[in-house]
């Protein structure tokens, strides 16, 4: 075994760089893990001492995030994106092939500590998958050829930083542009316009625009900003939610790649409106590779006087932005969980009220907006609220970026005015023989072909941007099962219905998939769905049954053909229970099985 010790001077360095602040715990853990890939027990103890917090707290935080490891992992950590679209492109076969080439078991580091191969929730590359994270860096367009190359590079112990550049090339795949993606923003232009308007008039333009949150919930942005502006407390905060974890969504990745200035300018526009001095961008760990370019954009904006003190010469307008990294936890996209995570804690959603606009980051009034929402405010500053509201529908003004993946000729980013019909989108992306579309990701809505006349808008089909296309060859039960597995994996475990219910739902779906389902299982599934919907603490739990409820309603035969014609079949499988005994005795003959229909042919 290699030595994994992280020296106390290394710990002190990192802790000091973060000003010994306990609310930097998550950022500190991410940095400390960097050299060896995991966090040995002694490191957690030393870190707790250095920060003056309990070790149990540090262990609790480290254990929460998928990308933090408290047990040894391979020096090469290869994580396949577990998105259903990538399954359909063969990601599981590629993962099995890689495991067999490297002689490793999935989800377990190799004996020599060289490599571990596992899965991770959707990494936001659904338009160019199958994809994996290799020591945190996305490797795209995996094929058997590429898998062979990776196996060879690992065996020869070539550092990931020296792998061929083509592996890491991320395409933007923008196929349809409207106001947002046509924007050629001269840095500072939108800000200049808003400053010229004055604070009150800028807020009025925001109201006129009727801009609603693009993260999915659709809350009116101006209402949020005004509530924060009016909240008592001088030290207000603007947070950009770049924790784009919804399976099938990748439009924020493209915005951060192509329009980073607009995103940061939007944050600054929000700061001007509410009177904030501090800005935080919470970047999901999967997008960590974007950080250096984002930092460069921030540096450029600082030297151009667009961040820092007296922005654009305006006395009293001081604002700066800092990037915080996530570490693999979908629930942190929920705004109060995100605030907990920004404070260096476990990403457990808070009790609301109070809402973040009055008590947010470190108890201060905080605006939390999605990447796309903030970028859109630049359009409003440049062209006015009325011009912005002229496109879209009455309740959904402006445009929406869709992340299209799955069974279509041209997956990628499409920008449409709100109100576009599903069938129009399908036509544009080159989808034919479409059986169903999942709009809004795992938490969204599954639409059947008889609903393709429906429109993308908050008043009809709301979405954060995912648009996953499934043709008639796809098994929609497997789609729902993948989403259920996702929610069970990502549940924070705070409340009973979500912690237990998502796992019970997965068990029930697995039982059906194994061919042991009975009618009573469908009743159980519907009952668990209802508990999740009604009793969950946050949106993750209440959205978790959506894919199952939709598919049961619209594609029930996909479930029924998996049932045995029984009223009841036990969840406990006697033959499976004998597997350990069979392994121990080295037998697999008919007499070693519970009944003849289980025996190998």
């Amino acid at each position: 075994m290699r030595s994994h010790e992280i020296s106390s001077s290394q710990i002190a360095d990192v802790v000091n760089r973060h000003h010994r602040l306990p609310d930097r715990l998550l950022q500190i853990l991410i940095e400390l893990q960097e050299p060896s890939g995991w966090l040995p027990p002694a490191t957690l103890t030393a870190l707790a001492d250095a920060l003056g917090v309990s070790r149990a707290h540090v262990e609790g935080v480290a254990g929460f995030y998928s990308f933090l490891h408290t047990e040894p992992v391979g020096r090469y950590r290869l994580l396949f994106s577990d998105n259903i679209i990538e399954h359909q492109l063969g990601s599981r076969e590629l993962m099995a092939a890689l495991c067999s080439k490297l002689w490793v078991e999935p989800h377990k580091p190799s004996e020599d500590g060289l490599v571990s191969v596992s899965t991770t929730s959707c990494i936001g590359m659904g338009d160019q998958g199958p994809a994996m994270l290799a020591n945190g860096r996305p490797v795209l367009r995996l094929s058997h050829q590429r898998i062979n190359q990776i196996a060879e590079l690992v065996r020869q112990q070539v550092p990931v930083s020296e792998w061929p550049e083509a592996f890491f090339h991320v395409d933007n795949n923008i196929h349809r542009r409207d106001a947002m993606l046509q924007l050629d923003l001269a840095p500072g232009a939108a800000l200049q316009a808003a400053l010229a308007l004055g604070r009150a008039e800028w807020m009025r333009q925001m109201q006129l625009s009727n801009l609603r949150g693009r993260g999915g919930a659709g809350f009116t942005t101006a209402v949020k900003w005004m509530a924060c502006a009016d909240a008592p407390g001088a030290d207000k905060v603007v947070v950009c939610n770049a924790d784009e974890g919804e399976p099938g969504t990748f439009k924020d990745r493209v915005l951060l790649t192509t329009l980073a200035d607009a995103v940061f300018e939007g944050m600054t526009l929000a700061a001007w409106a509410v009177g904030a001095r501090q800005g935080l961008l919470y970047l999901r760990g999967e997008y960590r590779y974007l950080r250096p370019t984002l930092e460069a954009v921030l540096a450029r904006r600082r030297s151009a006087g667009l961040l820092g003190r007296q922005i654009l010469g305006k006395a009293g307008f001081d604002f700066d932005i800092e990037i915080h990294l996530g570490a693999g936890a979908y629930v942190c996209g929920e705004e109060t969980a995100l605030l907990e995570s920004l404070e260096g804690k476990r990403g457990t959603p808070r009790i609301r009220p109070p809402f973040p606009v009055t008590r947010g980051y470190l108890g201060r009034p905080t605006v939390v907006n999605n990447v796309e929402t903030l970028a859109k405010t630049c359009l409003i500053a440049l062209e006015g609220g009325a011009a912005f509201a002229a496109t879209g529908t009455a309740q959904s003004t402006g445009t929406k970026l869709l992340s299209i993946s799955g069974d279509c000729a041209r997956p990628g980013i499409y920008e449409y005015p709100f109100g576009v019909a599903i069938e129009r989108v399908l036509e544009d992306c080159g989808a034919s023989d479409t059986q169903a579309v999942q709009v809004g990701g795992a938490a969204g809505i599954m639409l059947a072909s008889y609903e393709f006349h429906r429109r993308i808008a908050f008043e009809d089909v709301p979405t954060a941007g995912a648009f996953m296309v499934f043709d008639s060859s796809r098994d929609l039960f497997e789609v729902a099962r993948n989403f259920v597995a996702f929610f069970a994996h990502e549940s924070c475990g705070f409340c009973t219905p979500c912690r237990v219910g998502t796992s019970l739902l997965l068990k029930a779906m697995n039982k059906l998939a194994d061919g042991h389902g009975a009618k009573t299982d469908l009743a159980d599934i519907e009952w668990i769905d209802r508990l999740l919907k009604n009793a969950s603490h946050c949106g993750l739990g209440s959205a978790a049954p959506n894919p199952v409820m939709d598919t049961l309603l619209k594609f029930r035969p996909a479930y029924e053909r998996r049932l045995r014609s029984l009223d009841f079949a036990p969840a406990f499988n006697l033959d499976d229970a004998l597997a350990a005994a069979r392994r121990a005795s080295g037998r697999d003959d008919a007499a070693a099985h519970f009944s003849a229909d289980h025996a190998p042919r």
Binding site: S54, A56, G60, G493
Partner: protein, 234 residues
């Protein structure tokens, strides 16, 4: 004239700042709860205290009471959901009441009787959870943990020690203690801590007193939990 809301059709007075559960309880109406404790701020994780307000489910322990609210609590629908939440807690851990020394003093067990839970319905998880007997005075049996975090909160907010925390997430979440060895005996935990007497189930147990009072004559053996809870109001 004080403000009031309707609780199962009956008027309940409240003061600003009171939650539905607090006001209802003060007025003599019991709402089932496990993670809520009168000495601590609301936590809202067990969800046993769900009620329906204007057709929406809310946690009554955390939801501020408002003038004119119509709250449904003791209805077949809500009690059915509460029973299912209890069933989830039972199948998630390893709960064997007949061999548990907390039997009769356990709130999970008492609520299951109160809400007439006659079986578990769901498939058991049978998790592999250890027992920690390293401390001279206190035993930890993690098999029964329901993640109410009362010990976490009591140790942190009352004892000033932070002996407990939760780690991992989802169904894999578990309770840890403040020691690199993972053993309670290596922490500064004491049997006199508030956290030692806060567990609503049978995780934190004082040694050598397990059967001082025989099963059958314990708190909830004598009186159902909804009566005990009303009696305990101050």
């Amino acid at each position: 004239m004080s403000k009031q809301f309707l609780f199962d059709g009956r008027p309940v007075p409240f003061e600003d700042g009171q939650t539905i559960l607090q006001a209802a309880r003060a007025a003599g109406h019991y709402i089932p709860h496990l993670c809520w404790h009168p000495d601590f701020p609301p936590h809202g994780s067990c969800k046993l205290c769900i009620v329906k307000v204007g057709g929406r489910h809310v946690s009554s322990c955390a939801m501020p009471a408002k003038e004119g609210m119509e709250v449904e609590s003791n209805t077949p629908e809500i009690n059915g959901e509460r029973r299912a939440l209890l069933q989830m807690l039972f199948v998630e851990g390893n709960h064997f009441c007949p061999s548990c020394e907390k039997s009769g003093n356990c709130q999970l067990q008492a609520l299951a009787y109160d809400l007439e839970m006659v079986g578990e319905r769901f498939a058991h998880f049978f998790p592999d959870r250890p027992v920690d007997a390293s401390h001279p005075d206190v035993l930890l049996d993690f098999n029964r943990c329901i993640f109410c975090e009362l010990c976490v909160r009591a140790s942190r907010d009352v004892d000033g020690k932070q002996v407990f925390a939760l780690t991992e997430r989802g169904i894999h979440k578990y309770l840890v203690v403040n020691a690199e060895s993972g053993r309670l005996g290596d922490t500064d935990f004491a049997a006199s801590d508030r956290a030692a007497d806060i567990c609503p189930v049978g995780v934190i147990l004082h040694k050598r007193v397990g059967f001082a009072r025989p099963i059958g004559s314990r708190t909830y053996d004598i009186q159902p939990i909804h009566e005990v809870d009303m009696k305990e109001r101050t």
